[in-house]
Subunit: 252 residues, 2 copies
Amino acid sequence: MEFYEIKHQLNYYECDPAGHPTLSTLINLAVLAAEADNQVNGVGLATVNQFGGGWVIINYAGNLSVHTARKEEELKIGTRVESYNKFFIIRDFYVKGPDDQIYAEFKGTFVFMDLVKRKIMTIPQAVIDLFDMDPVRRLPRLPQPGDFERSPEWDQQTYRVRYFDIDMNGHVNNAHYFDWMLDPLGGEFLSHHHLVAMRITFAKEVRMDEIITSSVSIPTPLEDGRLMTQHLIEVDGEISAKGENYWIPLEK
Amino acid sequence: MEFYEIKHQLNYYECDPAGHPTLSTLINLAVLAAEADNQVNGVGLATVNQFGGGWVIINYAGNLSVHTARKEEELKIGTRVESYNKFFIIRDFYVKGPDDQIYAEFKGTFVFMDLVKRKIMTIPQAVIDLFDMDPVRRLPRLPQPGDFERSPEWDQQTYRVRYFDIDMNGHVNNAHYFDWMLDPLGGEFLSHHHLVAMRITFAKEVRMDEIITSSVSIPTPLEDGRLMTQHLIEVDGEISAKGENYWIPLEK
């Protein structure tokens, strides 16, 4: 399938203190592009809502370039359905700069969720018929965070889910998980490291007024010079999301 | 002076659960327009930084229409310097919809701040010379929140200032104050009332990792049918910002 592309001028309020887009901004833009692509393909919100369902993302994984976007640049955000079966859709995403330099490439897995029961359902055949491609038997599996458990030396912060974290669908905009996930690393780490790869899986929705705990491992040096951090987002000890991020130290 | 206008497509992630722009989104867009206007007039960031200063907002006041913007609309955000003297600049702002219907009109007062000492300084004459208008002796004073004190029955919430709340200038993006200010009203109130007027004054900067307390009065019915709420943002008992908001109940 062809990539569908939107353009977006990167505004100051979508950037981190260094003037680069936050990861949550990139995810917001990716979802914006995916919704536009769905619309063009006839499987937008209005159509899928008729089937009582909506697209819900269950994981993301991908890479970010060291030379990243800057405030005021016009970005190109591309997306396409890479493959699907009756339960899952894998989407490709890219974020490019004005000269088509690649800032980020990642994939996400979408499911079709019954909006009343909040349960995953099979993608309705009438919706599948609108895709201009055949389903596949074996879907590629996105890289997942490894098996790990929180240990006592991890840093953590708590966050209450706020009214303005809630989306028009009445649920938390998933992009907020990225801010919750990274914030406990603290300003000293975040201002001296660049995120080059990320993996996140969403396990359970969080709701307004719930207190979430975001915990992060001590950054672990890898043989290739990168640092790895592992992340848990929990509510009452139950895992809501799990992440693994890879960083390189910034040159002074 | 002429209004300078930018256009902005309202994205889903800039909206509240009802699909309308949050107040913090409107303020973000207003500042975006003001920066673009300054740029065009030769008093943009690059120029004023040469004088060791930057534009800092000290208050906003204005009105919002009941019929407000909706997700995906193309908004027009206009601004102009209305008047100034050697200490203050009053800016006019409007937010209009696709058919030029007015969604919001407000004013803001800017000062010129020494970015090292974090103190207000006189606007350099070389900057003033770039304005295509004369200074005025008496500046209009924006409506301010009234005299009030927090009382024990007020609702309150605490917020830690997060890494991603910080702007490229190393300070908290003022728009976040609006989310902190309104969030303690709770989903039940916020989803059943529409904000029609606001006044806010900023007294003292908050810093990363500080815990701010946002408290809000019990909504007071006024004779004209509106409700008034009063707001304090405090750090360690010291006032950082003060607000007064006016609401009308939404029709079912």
